[in-house]
């Protein structure tokens, strides 16, 4: 069985927010809503200071707390590892928002436009009323993953079936693929590097691996 995961090489990330912007572009998220972003962490005291850029989004957990609390089964864990939301079922109770330890989910009760009241042509073209009042998050660009399943292409290798953020990353920090396939690009990379998963102690089995050094 496949399990799609993402690898993020923190050695490479420069915090440029290209993935943040590419995600907004690909998913038409409303102004102010970011399904992913790159955090800018500072530690230490002058002059011994470190600054770390940390891309964060839905971790597509192996044991997603959002899924178990969801009263409607709108949130599901798919067989391929993606955690998905059915906007038609979701009642917007926000229980999943509370359950997620990664600040990955948000609910928009009213649409916000980039330039105030007026909706730009591009916004109007893509406005989806079905996403108002329901829980939203990074989908791992699931339409693309579905297309991969239908066409036999490989996510993380073929750009058409790879998440937009991974495609966009100018530092080459992000990888995507099936961790259950030992030959996949992500399995190979993880075998050669030292990495961690965020808040692993919470038992969520996150599907995003952060690389911090070579093995």
């Amino acid at each position: 069985m496949k399990r799609y995961v993402m690898t993020i090489d923190l050695r490479r990330c420069v915090g440029c927010q290209t993935c943040t912007a590419a995600c907004k572009s690909a998913n038409a998220t409303p102004s102010g809503i970011q399904w992913r972003r790159v955090l800018d962490l500072e530690t230490g005291e002058f002059p011994d200071v470190r600054r770390t850029f940390l891309p964060v989004a839905c971790m597509h957990c192996g044991d997603p707390p959002c899924e178990s609390v969801c009263p409607t089964k709108a949130t599901t864990k798919r067989a391929d590892g993606l955690v998905a939301i059915d906007y038609e079922l979701c009642i917007g109770c926000a229980n999943c928002v509370m359950a997620c330890p990664y600040d990955a989910r948000s609910i928009v009760h009213e649409q916000h436009f980039a330039y105030g009241e007026s909706q730009m042509t591009s916004e109007a073209k893509r406005f989806d009323p079905g996403r108002i009042g329901v829980s939203m998050k990074c989908t791992f660009c699931k339409d693309r993953i579905d297309e991969a399943a239908a066409t036999g292409r490989t996510p993380g290798v073929d750009p058409e079936v790879t998440p937009a953020c991974v495609n966009s990353c100018i530092s080459g920090a992000m990888g995507f693929g099936d961790i259950n396939d030992p030959q996949s690009n992500v399995s190979q990379l993880l075998a050669q590097t030292q990495h961690f998963r965020m808040h692993e102690e919470l038992g969520t089995e996150p599907g995003v691996y952060y690389i911090w050094n070579q093995s």
Partner: protein, 916 residues
Amino acid sequence: MAAVQSKSVKHVPTICYNCVSGPDFLSVKVEDGVATEIEPNFAAAEVHPAKGRACVKAYGLVQKTYNPNRIQQPMKRTNPKKGRNEDPGFVPISWEEALDTVAQKLSALRAKGLVDEAGLPRLAVSLGHGGTPSNYMGTFPAFLAAWGPVDYSFGSGQGVKCVHSEHLYGEFWHRGFTVASDTPNARYIIAVGANVDVTGGPCAVIRHADARVRGYKRVQVEPHLSVTGACSAEWVPIRPKTDPAFLFALINVLVCEHGLQKLDIPFLRDRTASPYLVAPDGLYLRDAESRKPLIWDEASGSAVAHDTAGARPAVAGSYRVARAVVADADKECREYTDVEGKTAYEMLAAHIAKYSPEWAAGICDVPADTIRRIANEYLENAGIGETIEIDGKTLALRPVAVTLGKSVNNGWGAYECCWARTVLAVLVGALENPGGLVGTTVRLNKSRDNRHLGVAPGEDGFMVQYFNPTTKEEWQTTPATRNLHQTLVPIVGHNGAWSQALGPTQLAWMFQGERPADWSMPMPTLPEVWIVYRSNPSISFWDTTHLAEVAARFPFMACVAYTVDETNYMADILLPEATDLESTQMIRMGGTKYMEQFWDYKGVVLRQKAVEPQGDARDFTWITTELARRSGVLEPYVKAINKGISGVASLKGKDYDFSLDPAGDLDPEHIWDAVCRAASLTFSEGKDEHGLDWFREHGFYAVPMSRLEWYLTPTMEKHGLRYELPYQERLLRTGRELGNRLHEKNMNWWDEQLSEYMALPEWHDVPARWVRNLEKSGAKIEDFPFWLLTSKSMQYHAGGNAGIEMMHEVALNLRGHAGVIMNAKTAAGLGIADGDRVEVRSHIGATYGKAALMQGVRPDTLVIIGQFDHWAQPFAKDLGIPSLNTIAPMTLDLTDATGSGADIVRVAVRKMEVAA
């Protein structure tokens, strides 16, 4: 997901080139004629070092297209009064009226004469940040070429906001208008303020990321912990503007502690002027007959001309020369007999001996041990003696470089920094060799597409140079431009397309107000017509409040406008252009270009109309053609296009002719179709001819390029030339000659700048210049205890996309963006908490924003990212983001000999009483 079911979806290949680190490939998703998404263009993955990916700015282009604040039809001003407090009263007019109004003004200029009574062009043109508008302005360069004298003096940042000294000295020493590390081969980089992970675009970002994973070490020397500093192995928080002292100390460790034997002797001996003998008066000892500089030939034990066959030049040492001459300024020749000549290297060694790490430590606030360790690591990693094979040729591999950032490499102290880092490269043989320090393009020499063609033998065994003349006969006594570039700045030259734009831009603005008391040249006039394209100097310059007041006095101003902004607020006519995704243009790509744009391919790429222009915006090529037609320069304009001035290649070649006829079809599509065909035939050497339709589908055409083209040293070797380093005899002479000319005209106001013409630069307390300037204005240094600096942001290219909402949204994820970065401990001492509204005040004004407290900034330094403080541009004016530009003075005192200044000013900071 779309509410409206899409009928048609297409993916249109195009580019973004809004900053100098492009072009970035991208693909626009167009649904039913509406641009909806920006994606990478993976079809370009092989040819593009960044694998077909675009930087974050490109993702703002959809909003840029549909921004409701756009000017969508031509406008004219109805309020004759101009000023920040005067509503321009713009009202819509037809294209006919707009074009005729501008053309009438232009025709009137032609009738009166292109140059006015002061000898200055009546037409001035300002083009925006870093020359990047040329990637958008279609055939406008052909219009400018057709016009005749045009004054680019008012600029928009060139000279003040670029890496100015690096451009001038880099091009002088090694044809490096921009200078970069050869990152793909690098092992050790000392980045002195170079914020390349922000400014270098996707090519630099991926290369440095690869290098980090590979294990290279980058040491960031900078007063605050920038993004690039964050991604480096080590951060050295140096005191602002003391970088020359730090770099001098590195040279000291190499030369005085390690000594010549540890350095790259063959390189110094054969490729530099190190062996040239210097007379006690500081000039090269020359052969009495041939006037060639002398070297000491160890083989014959005598002084011989530098190019004597079979000679073995001594790099170090001091030698008695029986007879020689020196050539001083104004061809003054002096003879010497039995004179002691020291090699240029020896001069360097003696000169640098006083600049020990211990000396620098006190100035830079960097421990001597740290400086010494960095110098040692640099030398160790240089791997002197190592080689690398590239395309069958064996070259020296010297994987170390010192890169410089803005405000390190412009303004006072920049000459010293540029010199020191280039000397550091030559000492280990890393200049223009694999892994080392490379220039990436030329703009002050020709050909702009191949810097190797700019290498030809000149004087004294060096490359040919095209300095602006300083001899009595040829010196330009009456400036032909308002920035006096040919009069005051010999090194900026007159050979390249950009020479004028690289002049002391701020002088053009300053001298419209006050001029020095001993000014003896014609009084500078205002240009009768000022055309502004993609430029907002009222935000991007210094002392912007004052600048806007000057701009309000210009008699006629036509601005190609995207939205209302702080500069076009004073315009008479606004011309709405089709923007990035709405218009067509072909440009060159690849080869070697700015920053880290050295590719394995070269070719052409099309920026194409992915969607129809909004409102009545028009393609700038159409606008240009109409202006040419209506102002009577159509014929020379078309001729210039045919010559290839706007479009990559000449439209007539050996085996093809796509020349346009002034009486024929000059529709933009027809023009670009001809350019596409000429370009593809040129790059394929006659094999492939592709028209506009082919390029619309495929996006680009590329041919492979050898990496040997990245490095200049093999070309220098081929010509038997030496780099004009480490000793600067030419500059010394040039400065003396320029001084003579100015003093003959009784002008002493440029004397301070003349002091920069040194054969070996001395430390001269660079930061003190800002202190003196402050005190001169009557202020007290203790009232302005902080340095204010600025830093660039990847989300913003200068101020150009400040009105794009998404850029603001994503930029806020980064610390310090939109605020005043200050050291947390310093802030605590002043009672300032994170997010408090603060006033940052210099002796000329104040700017306001929220405090962003960080540990990663020196306690004596504040930083404001980007160029903001907008007051007219919709959206941007509501952001309340402060700007250094508002409070940095524009003054002769802070202008260096190349005519540049730096983004730094002394300030005070205090918490505002009322919370925002």
